[in-house]
Symmetry: C2
Subunit: 374 residues, 2 copies
């Protein structure tokens, strides 16, 4: 069979205050086209359907409509799990009815032990879960981390492998290729090796499809760029063919891209430069100037209406940040002044300035003592 | 056919801070028994499934479980509309799938124009809606009130009446038997006459089954007492038989009743009295004493752990309230004092007191002037 693997939809997401629902609907329109033109047999969504555990009515309306279109109008089987952003309980509403039309929505850890056979595939659906749930299920409070929990669960899943079927895991977690000590939030990573017994693993959680390099254990990434840090990532979905044992990445084109503009203020705040930029994009701006620029953000908005962020790479504020990061507390007052002056002005104090500073410092000391004595 | 008419479940409701979910589950257990033993063909819920537009996870879990039991396990057709307490959008989740198993969940005003034929009945489902929705639908901004909107909608429904079927309306609104100027919240009442073309009208909104006296246009009321003002109401559901054209009220027994105790403090705060009261009930207490009673609530809780409210019918606070309600601003200071004294002490000022009060008043006037002049 052929299925599309996507994840981390984050429906209802706001980007620096901008409501992304129109962008999301536009990208789902493309997804529907792909599902039809590529003759796909099923859609897999590996968690984080919603951006928030209590989504807005707007987000719920859009999601309900989309899922009904896919499952009831297009008659497409859906395999959807909850992610850490979803409320398992809220998302679960209706799931018992959805089964009847091959819309498998699973929100409980134990769902993975009741695989769903569809076509030539056995789907194991393991939603996002917390360590305590595994401890309770295995009645073992000594399970140290999610990795150990996954080991135990995968063993139980393996025991249910039908030899004539392909075995596909859908899950939402942080899987790592060796960097054991790396942690995303409070989650310890799952060793990719634990999952290698499956024929394909459809992962959700990390937003970058390149977050893990593995031939058949893959993150799909988000369908859209959801932060400035994702500006240079390619977004899309995996088309998985279980017969040919291939997976092909199909890119999705955003309605409004995220673009980062980097350079001198005078250059970026010019009509000539702005003309080359898609004005409807979400824009992140990184200014290299060192001097103070009054009303920079306000002026830039005239060229770029949807600015997400203005960053001063070498500006006063960055210098101050760099300055503060040095160990300052051991400096004598005069050294402190000299360092500050050099950082802000990019030049040393002259001898005259140094003499003047010394005198001023002595004077202020005296005043200070007087004030204290008074 | 035979169906049960219920409404105003308010799942997730809290009563003076007490979570009612256990009481609600207990009463739904009775409802399930009735549905089975009375060989009922369908269940009608006339709005306010939830108590809040954004219900808690606990409330959602309980509701999802209950509805799945009724519709999928007991194979019972369900006819459910949204009420003013529900979020139409949130409640609607899954509704397109529910249709397949005869679970008709309608949250849009226009749903009433697509009646559902089941057995010998045509069900017209008209959820709670706002006047503006009717104005928009009829493209007539001059529709003055809900009553006019209902008139127009009922006309359109009547045009769809199948002559071989019974016509049953399920709706959630304030229907009145003549008292045109009475209003519940901002809602003007619907004239009961508009609805008399139906064979039965299953109403939700008012919590008392006796809120409207009509042979076949009925409120079911809530399945439980949801406020102290409902303490003396009988709660239950209507069993409607469309063949025999009868409706029978079946009472539901609460796990914990609401009881109001009224009398002298010393009597109510006694073991002898408390023994006659079910200690697990929710208790409202009305004390008739006039004197101040220190720590009354605290002392009473030793006898009645779940006190909802303590009311002093003749106590100091009630006297003050009564006192304030009189027109006081026209009284001279001495009259004001005399009235206050009499209200609080239940006796008039003596002559000596009156003389003393006069002197004190004169004295304070003088002081006041001095202070002002200073």
């Amino acid at each position: 069979m052929r299925f599309i693997h996507t994840a981390d939809w984050h429906i209802g997401k706001k980007l620096h205050g901008y409501d992304l629902i129109e962008d999301q609907l536009a990208v789902f329109l493309q997804l529907k086209e792909i599902l039809c033109t590529k003759k796909v047999d099923a859609l897999v969504v590996a968690g984080d359907v919603y951006d928030q555990s209590v989504p807005s009515e707007k987000a719920i309306k859009a999601t309900n409509h989309l899922l009904a279109q896919l499952n009831l109008d297009l008659k497409l089987p859906l395999f959807v799990i909850s992610g850490n952003h979803d409320s398992a309980v809220r998302l679960d509403t209706g799931s018992k009815w959805f089964d009847y039309t091959h819309f498998y929505l699973k929100t409980q850890m134990t769902a993975c032990l009741e695989p769903i056979v569809y076509d030539d595939v056995q789907f194991f659906m393991l939603p996002y879960f917390k360590l305590q749930e595994a401890k309770n299920y295995f009645n073992d409070q000594n399970i140290v981390d999610l990795n150990s929990a996954f080991e135990l669960l995968v063993k139980q899943m393996q025991a249910k492998f039908l030899p004539t079927k392909k075995h596909i895991l859908i899950t939402h977690c942080f899987v790592s290729n060796g960097l054991k000590d790396l942690e995303v939030g409070t989650q310890s990573p799952i060793d990719v090796k634990i999952l290698e017994c499956f024929d394909y693993v459809a992962l959700g959680h990390l937003h970058n499809k390149n977050a893990l390099k593995h031939p058949y254990i893959k993150y799909s990434g988000t369908p859209l760029k959801y932060s400035l840090s994702e500006a240079n990532q390619t977004k899309g979905v995996w088309l998985v063919d279980t017969t040919k044992e291939t997976c092909e990445f199909i890119t999705l084109k955003p309605k409004h891209d995220i673009t980062i503009l980097k350079g001198e203020y005078a250059q970026i705040a010019s009509l000539e430069y702005a003309k080359k930029v898609n004005s409807t994009d979400y824009i992140g701006i990184e200014i290299t100037d060192t001097k103070v620029i009054p009303n920079a953000l306000e002026n830039l908005r005239q060229y770029y209406p949807k600015i997400l962020n203005l960053k001063r790479l070498n500006g006063h504020e960055m210098l101050l940040t760099n300055f503060k990061q040095k160990t300052l507390k051991h400096l004598e007052p005069l050294e402190l002044l000299a360092t500050f002056f050099e950082d802000v002005n990019q030049q040393k104090l002259t001898n005259d300035q140094l003499v003047w500073a010394k005198e001023a410092l002595e004077q202020s000391k005296g005043e200070s003592y007087e004030t204290t004595d008074a």
